[in-house]
Subunit: 324 residues, 2 copies
Amino acid sequence: MEKFKDLKSSFEAFITSHLPKIAPRELYEPYHYIVNLEAKRVRPVMLLATKRCFAPLGEDDFYAALAIELFHNFSLMHDDIMDKSETRRGQATVHKKYGDNSAILSGDALLILSYKLLENIANKVHFLSIYSLYNKTATEICIGQQLDMNFESEVLVSEPEYLMMIEHKTAVLLATSMKIGAILGDANSTDCDAFYKFGLAIGMAFQIQDDLLDTFGETASVGKRIGGDICNNKKTLLHIYALQNAHKTHKELLLQWSQTNEFNEMKISEITQIFIDSGAKDYVIRKRDLYYQEALKSIEFASISREDKDYLIKFAQKAVDRIK
Amino acid sequence: MEKFKDLKSSFEAFITSHLPKIAPRELYEPYHYIVNLEAKRVRPVMLLATKRCFAPLGEDDFYAALAIELFHNFSLMHDDIMDKSETRRGQATVHKKYGDNSAILSGDALLILSYKLLENIANKVHFLSIYSLYNKTATEICIGQQLDMNFESEVLVSEPEYLMMIEHKTAVLLATSMKIGAILGDANSTDCDAFYKFGLAIGMAFQIQDDLLDTFGETASVGKRIGGDICNNKKTLLHIYALQNAHKTHKELLLQWSQTNEFNEMKISEITQIFIDSGAKDYVIRKRDLYYQEALKSIEFASISREDKDYLIKFAQKAVDRIK
């Protein structure tokens, strides 16, 4: 649709012209590096698309979108240190390339910069409302990362615990991006909530798909080595379901494998098979699709046109499925 | 003076009643630990005292003061990881006690919490003005920490470079605290600037005194092992002056010692002696006192009473000298 055209490329152009260089070089190079990696820009594009359902885009919208994208990149930088991840978007992670100290400090600078960009929202009524939502969400994302780290040392994680973790760690930021778009479009509070719920459900589907791709995807399209979650004994929904529903021998095998955490091809292939045989893969696909359905329902009564809804749904579906 | 009485104890009470616990425990325990260590609370008390020169204190002032104190503690948590410091205020640093990951994430949560507390400033004109100053200062503090880290791998750091580093890393937060107090007191912009300059000069004197105490202080009152800067080859003003002005043999000795960086009593005693013999100690004391004089001048024309000025000066002097 014409009015949603080029949102991503306009946003990329805005990054290029508005991402400041906080001197010295050692401070800005790491965050320029990560922000400029090729990325889907799902959150800022969803923010802009939501706003565009209500009114034409202006500078305030792009500043808010950039703030969100920088916040997201800040959290990736710090999470990658904590998770000892070596690649991100097919490239070296910041701490791998520049060292832990740079990733800590440049990440801090990026978080502060994201707050600083919010200053540029000229409509101060919008700003105040966005600011409060922003702080709430930022806190929730820290909670999500903490829960995720806690799960590492827990053998049994329940499905509700897992869902709560991904909601905090991933889904709330997409939900917030869309609600910010609605706030900037002067949407009424019912619509603001509808967009939040839509983003939240899409975010859940997105993360569940992410877990599926980590085991069942292909390195080339996923941008990271397949089987990472299995090797690291991540308590994904696949793992949680399999541990509850696999045959006794398979359960024991799962628990045995969780004693090691180096990269191991045999571990990956055995556990992948257990995920299939136990019905975990099918269950997780169904779960993903349920969230997707929930998203469709959330947006159904929003006071925007049918065409706009369809665009948002289609865009969200592509994002979940990782179709370019 | 009656009106400045109990600022610190009122602030401590405010911390106790207003420092939230962001669940899970692993997230809030580390920041509760550091915030509750015995501390002088120089920044929040200076903020409150400045406001008190203009008007009685209210909730807005305490929220702003708490935000500043939390920001300060966030930066300590992350700096201590980067600097590999093991003790802080006589106790284990957060990363030493809880691990690097906890110090990173709990620090992030603390920074976000400090932004969240600013939301509580009910006067939104004040809030907007404070918010913009806050972001600017937070960025400068990151720059200061980066410069400090850069100095580690540089042999020759000049005095202006050093002064710029401590201005960013330390002085701007005290300056900002006082300017926020003035903003909350509806001071005119000349007065706001006067308080900023006062805080900046006091902050410089404070940091220079900190460097002096690290070499010439006593463990019991300083709360950390004496000689840490010397062992870590910190480019303090003492080091910079001595390297430029000591006898040739002493300069060579300084450069030789900088090849090692473990704890070494002989290194400490030899370099301490060089700092005395080269006149570095005397020079640095004079430099500290010049900043102190500059502070006095800055506040002289502020439109507050003589008594109020004298209180602020006395409080600042005590803070610089570390007198309880």
